[in-house]
């Protein structure tokens, strides 16, 4: 089996779609947060793959990946904190029940 750019891109696209699907389907906030992580990791795979397989003038793809990992971590940290607050206020982490504002 040959693992080339195409295969990696397909993998990342699949991951991305899985994440997106999860966000749309899952109702648990933690699960949604995880799905977002999956999406971001799909992107990381893309960057690394492009940087690895294609003749790039620099390592900007990998740099971008590192930053993207960091940002994802920060996002998760903030997300967790907000989910605590949600749980504190709503006593649930089901996103369907978190629906005070409408209109």
């Amino acid at each position: 089996m040959h693992v080339g750019l195409t295969q990696v891109l397909i993998l990342s696209a699949l991951l991305f779609c899985i994440g997106l699907y999860g966000i749309l389907v899952k109702r648990n906030l933690f699960a949604i947060l995880m799905c977002i992580e999956i999406m971001l990791n799909a992107v990381n795979i893309n960057f690394a793959a492009f940087n690895y397989f294609l003749p790039m003038p620099d390592l900007s793809g990998q740099v971008m990946m590192i930053f993207s990992i960091t940002v994802a971590a920060a996002e998760v940290a903030v997300g967790l904190a907000i989910i605590f607050k949600i749980y504190h206020d709503f006593k649930t982490v089901n996103i369907d029940k978190i629906n005070n504002m409408k209109g």
């Binding site: 949604i32 907000i82 709503f90």
Partner: protein, 473 residues
């Protein structure tokens, strides 16, 4: 490596750290106002010093042209400084009620830092960092009110939608990287192979992501909830700062990196602008909560701003800058008033602002003028801004867009005037609203700017012209 051009960012960063440290040193019960004063002072000095950085000739850049310090960036940096300074001023009273007011100011400054980076970003890495620094700070700020369900809800909704937008944007960027072999706008601009499917998909995803961030109409569903739930000063900053910053970088992306494809995406943008103007204004009509109404109205405002994009000319960009400025000024006024009302009457719906003209005539006046400026009624600066926008776009042949724009801005008067009506003839909740000096200063500055620039926009016009010619269109 001329590091001095980073001085605004470095100043803001040091200021933020200083505030974090001071916050740690202060005893818990003590008010954090001193931090706010320090921040306002330093940012004010920075704001003034940036006037001296406008320059002719080649723009200084930092590290391989990844970070530009051109007039355009300076203009936007000043805008963000303005927005944050006034946000701090109008949240002085508000922040006293918060449990972590020190962090509140620190997060404001972090978001400012993100915006400032965005204004200068000339490659996707820098842009991404700026964007996320700003957005993540906003996630926190949106959920900042303690024991407030709406605030938490706003925070989580913003987080989820914002993260998805980030992921989509990033995915787009990664495809662009794969097709264009670089993340640098300048290099991408030299790239001519735009019609590779990979590149096109990337551009489309990137634009969709940006539309999410800008809450352009079909991608706007998060914004009304977030605007309603977030603490009022933060709603203001969301409406002004985050949008302006996203616009700042969006212009660079479209008109530096993907200038070649302009002919293809401009009609699309025009359609989205029309959707925003129509949808935003019509949805705003039936809103009872003023923050929510302003959320929809801000969707419409972004529609107007997109109109300026469609012109794809220096005049277009100049009109966008002009409009963004006036939009920020108008929002400062409106949200300062809402902040006071929210604090006094515990809400921002019609009941809360009823009879404001009796209990606080100044606030009612400022609110009216700010709203009229958003609607584009003379003699407020909103009129001049709209005129610039539509002049620029009609010159490029989009007369239908101008037509929709003018009609919709007149329809928007309907719901703005509804607020005015409630303020002027509604029954007041309390006889007298005490308005603090900081708020008074804020609203008076906002009002005077709106009116004076509306009558005599010469200086701002020159400044925006100066900033807009940073682009080789």
């Amino acid at each position: 490596m001329n590091i001095y051009i980073l001085y605004p960012e470095i100043t803001v960063l040091l200021l933020t750290l200083l505030i974090v440290i001071m916050d740690l040193l202060l005893p818990v019960q003590e008010t954090r106002r001193s931090l706010a004063y320090i921040a306002v002072m330093v940012l004010g000095c920075l704001f003034i010093s940036l006037f001296y950085q406008y320059h002719f000739g080649i723009s200084p850049y930092f590290y391989n042209k990844l970070f530009y310090f051109d007039n355009y960036a300076i203009f936007f940096k000043q805008l963000f400084l303005l927005a944050v300074i006034f946000t701090i001023m109008l949240s002085l009273d508000y922040a006293d009620d918060l449990r972590y007011s020190g962090e509140y100011y620190a997060m404001l400054l972090f978001s400012l830092l993100g915006m400032m980076v965005l204004a200068s970003a000339n490659d996707f890495v820098t842009m991404f960092i700026g964007l996320e620094l700003m957005t993540i700070s906003f996630y926190i700020l949106a959920a900042f009110k303690n024991n407030d369900e709406n605030s938490s809800e706003a925070g989580i909704k913003y987080l989820i939608m914002g993260s998805v937008a980030t992921a989509v944007t990033l995915y787009g960027i990664s495809l662009i990287y794969g097709a264009g072999h670089s993340l640098d706008f300048n290099v991408l601009a030299a790239e001519t192979r735009f019609f590779v499917p990979l590149m096109l998909t990337g551009i489309v995803l990137l634009i969709i992501g940006m539309f999410f961030k800008l809450s352009i109409m079909p991608f706007h569903m998060w914004s009304p909830d977030v605007y309603e739930g977030a603490p009022t000063p933060i709603t203001g900053l969301l409406a002004m700062g985050s949008k302006a910053a996203a616009i700042a970088v969006f212009i660079r992306i479209l008109f530096v990196a993907f200038l070649h494809t302009a002919n293809y995406f401009l009609p699309v943008l025009a359609v989205f602008a029309a959707i925003c103007m129509i949808g935003g204004n019509i949805a705003a009509i039936k809103q009872k909560n003023i923050k929510r109404m302003l959320a929809y109205s801000s969707i419409a405002q972004v529609g107007y701003i997109l109109v300026g994009f469609c012109a794809a000319s220096p005049q277009g960009i100049k009109s966008v800058l002009f409009y963004v400025f006036l939009y920020i000024v108008a929002n400062i006024g409106a949200f300062a008033v809402l902040t006071v009302v929210d604090k006094q009457n515990k809400g921002t719906d019609d009941k809360a602002i009823a009879g404001l003209s009796k209990s606080a005539p100044l606030l009612a006046m400022v609110m009216t003028i700010s709203l009229l400026s958003m609607a584009g009624i003379p003699p407020t600066v909103g009129f001049v801004g709209k005129l610039y926008l539509f002049l620029a776009v009609v010159e490029q042949g989009y007369i239908w867009l101008a037509f929709i724009g003018f009609i919709m801005s007149m329809i928007s008067v309907y719901y703005y005037l509804r607020v005015v009506k409630v303020m002027y003839i509604g029954k007041a909740n309390n006889d007298y609203i005490n308005v603090s000096a900081a708020i008074k200063i804020t609203v008076i500055i906002s009002m005077l700017t709106t009116l004076l620039l509306g009558i005599w926009p010469q200086y701002l016009s020159v400044l925006t012209n100066f900033a807009a010619i940073s682009f080789a269109l």
